[in-house]
Assembly symmetry: C2
Homo-oligomer: 171 residues x 2
DNA sequence: GCTAAAAGTTTTATTATAAAACTAAGTGGA
DNA sequence: TCCACTTAGTTTTATAATAAAACTTTTAGC
């Protein structure tokens, strides 16, 4: 993996996630898993991914507990790859990515797929950034502050960022 | 880019997005842009990215209209990179990724950064998948159907997926 | 006009990915 | 039980992407 901002927690906040799921095929493998694909050969034929790369990605996703290798049935030596809870909770990321693509690549009324509320059989809401009061926030209405996992350096970095944004009108 | 599922719209739905923003450093560049970084040298020093790669990524992000090259001031030949509306609308993706990392990598109370509602100075809500009725949906309560941009093949693929999931109890 | 920084290019080395052939173990049927 | 087929990989070799570092060219400030 090329991307390694070892320095401060501020930077690790996203880059560490990307080290786990940001590689080439990882998110596509996760998507297939959401859609019921669980076996090596199925991943391979659905994605057209090289088998050695698939091996490496599955291994890594398992190491990071996004997928879990489980025996096909009681005591079998052959296994399949199932999403863990950790993996399933990537759903919002996947949907947010898809909806962004629907809006900006495919266009408002040509989405290839629509996500549905299974129980009520109706499309889900667009994913939004909401305030604690339930109001839809636009990018410029959002800022960032150091969390409990911050360090002096990351605080400094956030300071710097605030200076930058305020001297700028918030681009 | 290695990932190219040219086939059906179903697959393009996410993989096409990943072709635009899924490469190595792209999302980190976009994150920096959100945080007020706009100049080549700043991106470079903040991220520690190789300069030739930065050049390539900035070029691609501009080509895809996520960033925009604008002159530093009226008529200047030197320029900076600003997020377009299209780029800014990646905010939910970035936040969803960050929040997933906060929960599953850093742990519930050691987030490096917290996203805030600027106006009210309070943390934003967690990003969720909501039904049209405003109810928080869990992964297994979500399904997918062909959209207006689907084709016979993608419909077939979705059929297949439904069979798979129903024969399986919805993993 | 001089100096330093800003924004890239170019070159070379390293690493990741792809394609295809190969292997070993499990499975299903005669 | 044995044979053929599938599954789940590994290995090898070729190709492409990325990194590091040095080099070039503007350009802003003094």
């Amino acid at each position: 993996m090329p991307i390694s901002e070892k320095q401060d927690p501020f930077k690790r906040s996203i880059s560490h996630v990307l080290e786990i799921i940001g590689e080439g095929w990882s998110l596509l493998i996760i998507r297939e898993a959401f859609f019921g694909v669980h076996r090596f050969e199925e991943f391979q034929s659905q994605l057209g991914i090289a088998r050695n790369i698939l091996t490496a990605r599955l291994k890594k996703l398992c190491e990071n507990q996004i997928l879990e290798r489980v025996p096909i049935k009681e005591g079998a030596k052959r296994h399949e790859y199932m999403l863990t809870t950790k993996g399933k909770e990537l759903m919002p990321v996947l949907i947010a990515l898809t909806q962004w693509g629907d809006r900006w690549i495919f266009g408002e009324n040509s989405e290839p797929v629509i996500f549905m509320d299974k129980e009520h059989n109706e499309p889900i809401e667009k994913i939004k950034v909401l305030s604690a009061r339930g109001i839809d926030l636009r990018p410029r209405e959002i800022m960032v502050v150091p969390g409990p996992g911050s360090t002096p350096e990351s605080k400094k970095r956030i300071e710097e960022m605030h200076r930058r944004l305020s001297s700028n009108g918030g681009a």
